[in-house]
Subunit: 343 residues, 2 copies
DNA sequence: TTGTATGCGTTATCAT
DNA sequence: ATGATAACGCATACAA
């Protein structure tokens, strides 16, 4: 059923060369034969063998995504949504998406292996950590890459796409301060990740600007699961001087915070204010006339689309300057915030 | 930096053939040279070019996962977790994972294309629908496949792995009936999907056995998002004769149901009982000494691991009988169920 | 404008 | 036990 180039060219009475050129839109082939070739190819459902053309051209036409997994082997829905965005871009450009999961201790070996096997033409780096070792590694491997996020330290020029996490959390904190809140808790991602470190710094800067001393007891950092959000918020609400507001780094974590608030017999948006960061996940839509949560919002799927486009452009033009892109998050007012009230 | 077989063999003073055989554990190579070759390969970080060996062997050593996406382009966390399980199996066997998203109207073309391009040696079929056209298509394409789920109609023999959805929901419904509940709502996935149809049938069978007439008004079918769960439950709780129990097909949907119950001023586990199906997602753990939700539980990640193993075995032994596997879900008691109480 | 010949990096088929 | 040589299916430098 599958037909190859040789068979197709024999059928047409042309050389493989001409058929190949016609299909790849080389200018020197006559319009007439090009049409004839393309029609025959379509009629026979001819598709070039991806392995063979990769070998011949030296380009795999595939992009790798290596998802970091820790010992509990999780798969964060945010990665999934980012990848959904990137995937559409790859399909549009005839690229394929290779997915792997790797624990931190396998990470270097994994990148090295896919580079040596020439399985991909480039990779997306997920969840950058402070002073991330993947940056020098990928440079050494000469594998084009785009980071979803940024590193902090001086790692030289590299391609990245990120949202302005610091500014988003600065603005969110400021809004809570303006509403009269003073004891504001931060439920954040693991602060080895640069996104979480930047969000914390926005939070701290806003507090400092308001002359408030940050309280380490009010800051949680860890996996942003529903369970962790619930546990962290429950503990904080049991304190003698409980926080009146929560800043939560993800929708999933906020679902746990919401549960803790309810269980404590309190009302979100009245007794306790909550602002979340909303990645605009399709499966966890914070929508409605008045969204459930006040939120800093930025579509992670859109980020995936843009990251993929940046990477494909880099592969096409390896000499061009490395692209970077900073997206601003919107601050969306929802039903979860209100003025401070005496407990 | 990357070294190829030719260079490695020149360095060793051996032929490419011998080096290749040594690395691939052919028996005819002497143990001494095998050791020498393997050491040199390791020292030079040699990895066979995946494209070249795929071309030579005719095996891509890659498995495709085509995720169905509807117009709103979602990415269900359950797929993600299944893939996480499968991915580990592929890595262990030296296979790669190709990921694509396809809308229903692109589905046939997508499968046809990856088959024609010989990008993969087999595929996993996600989210089977009743009388799924992918089964005859994949047979025609001669592409080995394993279905995560089962079809209902007579499609002949094919490989699948599924949980006993009917039995799980039968047992869950029966538990609610035993607790005295009569008005039991079903918040289900889209019932074109076979998993949802089977769950509904378990629910209906249990009601019938108890002599209760099912009420279509108590059944919701759609995407199992938090928002849909919230909306469906909110509407049901506003009815004059509101349901006293909910059967919810996913954890995400149940989070919305929980929100609706709270918003209605009711208490889950007291006023309203809830049983969910728990796919044991790492990011949405229904754990604790007493889990939040009473649940039928089965690990979808484990299913991914098993599905991948089944598919690789089929590729290795194409003549063997097609494997099938039916997993039973556990019924786990949590805090969300209690005896019926007068409203 | 078309065709011939060669290479991409492996694995597989013959020899020896 | 090892080696020369021919595929695998495509793209391309070089010829015509």
């Amino acid at each position: 059923m599958p037909i190859n180039l040789k068979q197709l060219s024999e059928y047409l009475g042309l050389s493989q060369t001409t058929v190949s050129r016609a299909l790849n839109n080389y200018p020197e082939v006559s319009e007439e034969t090009r049409q004839r070739v393309k029609q025959a190819a379509a009629a026979h459902h001819y598709r070039p063998n991806a392995r063979a053309s990769a070998l011949a051209t030296g380009r795999a036409r595939a992009i790798g995504h290596i998802i970091p997994v820790d010992s509990s082997d999780w798969f964060n829905p945010i990665f999934a949504e980012f990848i959904a965005g990137a995937s559409a871009t790859y399909s549009r450009h005839g690229y394929e998406l290779l997915l792997r999961m790797a624990r931190a201790d396998e990470e270097a070996a994994t990148y090295t292996e896919i580079a040596a096997r020439k399985s991909v033409d480039g990779v997306i780096v997920h969840a950058p950590r402070i002073n991330d070792p993947r940056i020098p590694l990928l440079r050494q491997l000469r594998l084009p890459f785009v980071i979803h996020g940024r590193d902090t330290a001086d790692q030289g020029d590299y391609a990245w796409i990120d949202i302005n996490n610091r500014r988003a959390f600065f603005r969110a904190t400021k809004l809570l301060l303006d509403l009269g809140h003073v004891d504001i808790a931060l439920i954040n991602g693991g602060e080895a990740f640069t996104f979480a470190a930047r969000r914390r710094s926005g939070y701290l800067d806003a507090l400092q600007e308001a002359g408030i001393t940050a309280d380490k007891q009010l800051m949680f950092a860890g996996d942003l699961t529903e369970g962790n959000g619930y546990q962290a918020a429950t503990a904080l609400l049991q304190r003698s001087q409980r926080p009146s507001a929560f800043l939560v780094s993800s929708y999933m974590g906020a679902l746990g915070v919401r549960r803790a608030i309810h269980n404590a017999g309190l009302t979100m948006g009245k007794d306790i204010s909550v602002i979340i960061h909303d990645d605009d996940l399709a499966y966890f839509h914070n929508s409605g006339d008045v969204p459930q949560f006040t939120a800093t919002r930025s579509s992670v799927k859109e980020a995936g689309t843009l990251a993929a486009e940046m990477l494909l452009a880099m592969i096409d033009q390896p000499t061009a300057a490395v692209p970077t892109r900073l997206l601003e998050a919107n601050l969306i007012l929802g039903a979860s915030t209100g003025p401070w009230v005496r407990p």
